[in-house]
């Protein structure tokens, strides 16, 4: 196991209780959660910048922190690379000096050679003599990355690496970061509140809500089948309703006034049901509809959920149309679909909403610690 984290730390308005592991040396784990949920604090604890109240942090075969055995390695000896949100380049040093000061090597010459190699790998050759403030945001990030890699860390910690960048710069940098992560021999922990970044860059996801971490899931699992209400919301699920189980696979949804069947296994107490805005289908009301069934559905054909709703309002978004649908009980459903698809429906006032059983996500509410 590459990294084991199991820590508790009392913060001013909640207690951080985070527990997760990085299994293999190439795994990229995302810590995903709203801002202020304790993600960055977790990274700081792993790096040794902050001290947990109790718990354990083990990297490979080295114990970095263990409150019971009174182990608390200083950050200098943890060999953990930390990419700060602001990159934390030393402003009074040149690019080369910045990278060289992190570089491993017996002599100054070796360290400089190492620094130059890392700068070349980050395509910063020619900028060695510049000050960080004269670099573009993307160059600064690559310079910070070069400095970290030159120090031969066993683990990478990435704290919202794209938050300081303009939208249009992000994509190129994301591609580069993906390459860097692929080429890096150790594991990585990636803190973000952007689920799309996480989906593209990470292998597994651990969500944190007000300091509480949930069991880790693979990225695919996390987006297709979140288990808890908070995970569903963090993963971008737009429609949730309080729900009551009324059959082995049926849930009465309070806010929507409908009963939905699911083909997904429901383990644990189900308190809510979630529907993704993209995974609904609509047909004009009054038409006879061929109810589509998914490949994985366990429910027999014809038992797909069918709800009639009134169109409450239509919002034109950049590349899609968002239709707010009023359910029988009055609660709204958000449906997001292709602009052309919506146009082809002819702007109906009432629609039939079709929900495949495999898209009905039973969720349980995780009650955060008081």
């Amino acid at each position: 196991m590459a990294l084991v984290v199991d820590i508790t730390k009392a913060l001013s308005d909640f207690t951080l209780r985070v527990s997760f592991t990085v299994e293999s040396s190439h795994e990229v784990v995302a810590l995903l959660g709203a801002s202020g949920c304790g993600k960055s604090m977790t990274l700081k604890c792993i790096a040794g910048i902050e001290r947990p109240d109790c718990g354990r942090i083990v990297l490979g075969d080295r114990v970095l922190f263990d409150s019971e055995r009174r182990v608390d390695l200083p950050p200098q000896r943890r060999r953990v690379g930390y990419l700060f949100q602001s990159y934390a380049l030393f402003p009074t040093m040149t690019v080369l000096e910045n990278v060289a000061c992190g570089a491993v090597g017996a002599s100054k010459g070796e360290r400089l050679a190492r620094a130059r190699r890392e700068l070349a790998a980050m395509r910063l050759t020619g900028l060695e003599g510049r000050r960080p403030s004269s670099l573009s945001g993307g160059q600064q990030q690559r310079c910070a990355m070069a400095r970290i890699l030159a120090s031969d860390p066993e683990l990478l910690l990435l704290d919202e690496p794209f938050s300081a960048l303009d939208e249009y710069l992000r994509w190129q940098l994301e591609l580069e970061l993906a390459d860097t992560l692929k080429g890096f021999a150790g594991g990585a922990v990636y803190v973000s509140h952007n689920r799309d970044e996480v989906f593209r860059l990470c292998d597994t996801v651990c969500t944190i809500t007000r300091g509480r971490s949930e069991p880790k899931a693979t990225v695919k699992e996390f987006f297709s089948r979140p288990r808890s209400l908070s995970a569903a919301l963090i993963s971008g699920c737009k429609n949730v309703s309080r729900a009551r189980q009324v059959g082995p696979d049926a849930f009465a949804c309070e806010e929507w006034g409908i009963t939905l069947r699911t083909s997904l296994p429901c383990d644990g107490p189900v308190t809510h049901v979630g529907l993704r805005a993209h995974y609904l289908d609509v047909a004009p009301a009054g038409e006879r509809v061929q109810v589509p069934t998914g490949e994985r559905t366990q429910a027999p054909a014809g038992e797909a959920n069918c709800v009639s709703c009134a169109v409450d309002r239509v919002i034109e978004s950049t590349f899609s149309t968002i239709v707010m649908l009023r359910t029988p009980a009055g609660g709204l459903l958000r449906h997001e679909l292709d602009k052309d698809r919506w146009r082809s429906l002819g702007r109906p006032a009432n629609v039939l909403v079709l929900v495949r059983p495999e898209h009905v996500m039973p969720l349980s509410e995780v009650v955060p610690d008081a």
């Binding site: 200083p74 930390y82 934390a88 402003p91 403030s133």
Partner: protein, 225 residues
Amino acid sequence: MDWYPLLNSLRIAALSTAVVYAVGIGLANVVARAPRLVKGALDVVLTLPLVLPPTVVGYLLLIVLGPRRPVGAWFMDAFGVRLTMTWYSAILATVVVSFPLMYRTARGAFEAFDETLSQAGRTLGKSETWIFWRVKMPCCRQGIVAGAVLAFARALGEYGATSMIAGYTPGITATVSTTVYQLWRTGDDALALRWVLVNLAISSVVLLALNYLNARVRPAQRGAV
């Protein structure tokens, strides 16, 4: 014109600035990172000489360092060194009076310092000493240099405490400021005016230097992002 007062003033100010520079930076660094309560208490004590009348500082110094007072007597016995009424006595006065200027400007600079830079240094395996001298001090240079210049200027112009602890002995403890007073008192207005002009010139140069440093250092201080 006897230039001794100018030379004496300059060496007093230079030596006192050296002391204040080292102690001021050290204490500013400690206070900037101290817990709030300790910080508040230390801050009052360390800033007090800034608001006290120099004569009060001089009085307090004489109480402690006078030849018949405990510390002063001990210095006399142990080293045969007299702490009052010598040219270097004035250094004691200027150190106390100019210290808050160095301390407060340096503390301000340290508090404005982005601590993530220190954290980055630590995760890169760098020692606290390295981080202080290679990252923190260069980043805070502007404030520190400004503090040193202000402390130097204040030491150069110190009169109240100096006149009490060093007095005015021509050719021995005379400084520019005590000389101006002495000349005016004895009615030598013409010579007094000359010293006033010398003083004005030095003060202008110091302020110009301060502005020049501020203008020059600032562009390099802009951090990443």
